[in-house]
């Protein structure tokens, strides 16, 4: 816990969801996240974009607690959580998806969602018959319905196609009713039609939920994201509204390439 010189964390304003100061993550010689500051307020929608290997997923992993940072502090909902376990962060209302789906592949779609609903401590009676838990089962079915998996509640997840798994990945996070939702490339692997559905889900998200989104599809990243953070080589190179980013030469050069609108 003896972290190097601690950057001062500003006295959090009441509605700060996330305040990150001087965050650093090294893997051997690679500095995946470098001295990063980031503030996110209540109900904000923030997109994170950047070239491959910029450190976006690593940033998520550090915020979620899967990786210990090599430097810096993270304050979430007004509490310093830098050393806290993944589990405790989840209890605080953090939910995330993984860039490569991490699902319970030998369980059914329904059971996957049911487990997502039972994650937080509280009213769950862990030793009751799970099949009798009508209320949660119904909620699980609702969530499956939202991505068109309503008919496949009893299908084993390992048998879903790639895109279907990506969609389940998304609702797993939604089902925990998070206060802070972090999505790592939710549109990857989705067909254009399903992307439409994803947009619907994202735009209809409750305003109480704060959203942090990594996405390479600019039609989503720059439409859903009200603020965009551009990363490159672990650093934050630009931050601003979608239009600023769209018109930035830097972003075009390092990320978007010739075409004016990504995909």
């Amino acid at each position: 816990m003896s972290a190097p010189p601690e950057p001062a964390v500003p006295a959090s304003h009441a509605d700060a969801v996330l305040a990150i100061r001087g965050l650093d993550k090294r893997f051997g010689g690679v500095r995946a996240v470098a001295d990063l500051d980031l503030d996110i307020g209540h109900g904000e929608r923030v997109s994170v974009i950047g070239p491959n290997g910029a450190g976006k997923s690593t940033l998520f992993n550090v915020i979620a607690g899967d990786h210990r940072p090599t430097g810096g502090r993270i304050v979430m909902f007004g509490t310093d959580i830098t050393g806290e376990s993944t589990r405790k962060r989840a209890h605080r209302g953090l939910a995330r998806t993984f860039q490569t789906s991490k699902l319970f592949s030998t369980l059914t779609v329904g059971d996957n969602l049911y487990l997502a609903l039972c994650g937080r401590p509280g009213s769950v009676r862990r030793l009751r018959n799970a099949n009798r838990d009508r209320a949660r089962r119904a909620r699980a079915a609702e969530f499956a319905e939202r991505v068109g998996l309503g008919e496949r509640l009893r299908t084993e997840v390992g048998e879903l196609s790639h895109g279907e798994q990506r969609q389940l990945e998304l609702v797993m996070a939604l089902a925990t009713q998070p206060r802070l939702l972090m999505l790592d490339e939710p549109a990857a692997g989705l067909s254009p039609a399903e992307r439409g559905g994803l947009m619907d889900v994202l735009t209809s998200l409750d305003r109480d939920v704060t959203l942090l989104l990594i996405e390479h599809d600019m039609d989503i990243a720059l439409v859903v994201g009200e603020r965009v953070v551009v990363m490159a080589d672990g650093e934050k190179v630009l931050e601003g509204g979608p239009d600023t980013v769209r018109s930035s030469d830097l972003v075009r050069r390092i990320y978007l390439g010739g075409a004016p609108d990504g995909r």
């Binding site: 491959n52 290997g53 048998e159 790639h162 279907e164 039609a193 390092i254 990320y255 390439g257």
Partner: protein, 236 residues
Amino acid sequence: MGDEDGRLVVDGLNVYYDRVHVLQDVGFEVGAEPVAMVGRNGMGKTTLAKALLGLVPAASGSVRFGGQELLGASPYKIVKAGIGYVPQGRRIWPSLSTHEHLVMVGAKAGSRWTVDTVYDVFPRLAERRDVSGANLSGGEQQMLAIARALLTNPRLLVMDEPSEGLAPAIVEHLASTLRSLVDEGQSVFLVEQNLRFATELGDHILVMVNGRIATDLRSEELLADEEKQNLYLGVA
């Protein structure tokens, strides 16, 4: 069909998972012109790609390449016959470093693709030479998967959603690289979700719906016709 040289001819292909009939009488051809396949999630595109490579058993049908029947052959023989494969989900080997991936697949000296030429196309990989495959970023892994396939110096390249997870600039770079390969005479069969990328590369677009090929269009046709897009792909 006298000159099947370098042509992929698929005919009446049927694949089941258990009793689920996933591919139903699929037939198409890929010649010099690149062909792309689109379709919604779960329609059977990946299954088709795997069946071509011998990675899923087919119940019936035929897959001929350069006049040679490949259905039933081992994957390695199919690759030897000249088909390269970029799998969906990348399938990198975590035990190997980036460089080891390329060295292992190897390439005969003097071939079109060697470890060095691949590094030229994907400089990012050269920077990550000694990083374990598992620790590459998603996009880096995707590049590696493509590079790996190129190193087998295939006559036909089968790619399953190669643009997934790639930054727009890289996608563009990839598209132009592939385009120039096509111009050099490389055959390509591409499964894609990214309509732009698919239409840019594929002259022909096949649309897969529920395990059948619903239609075969020229890419301009599909691009121009919103109604068709809506009908087949659900793009509103």
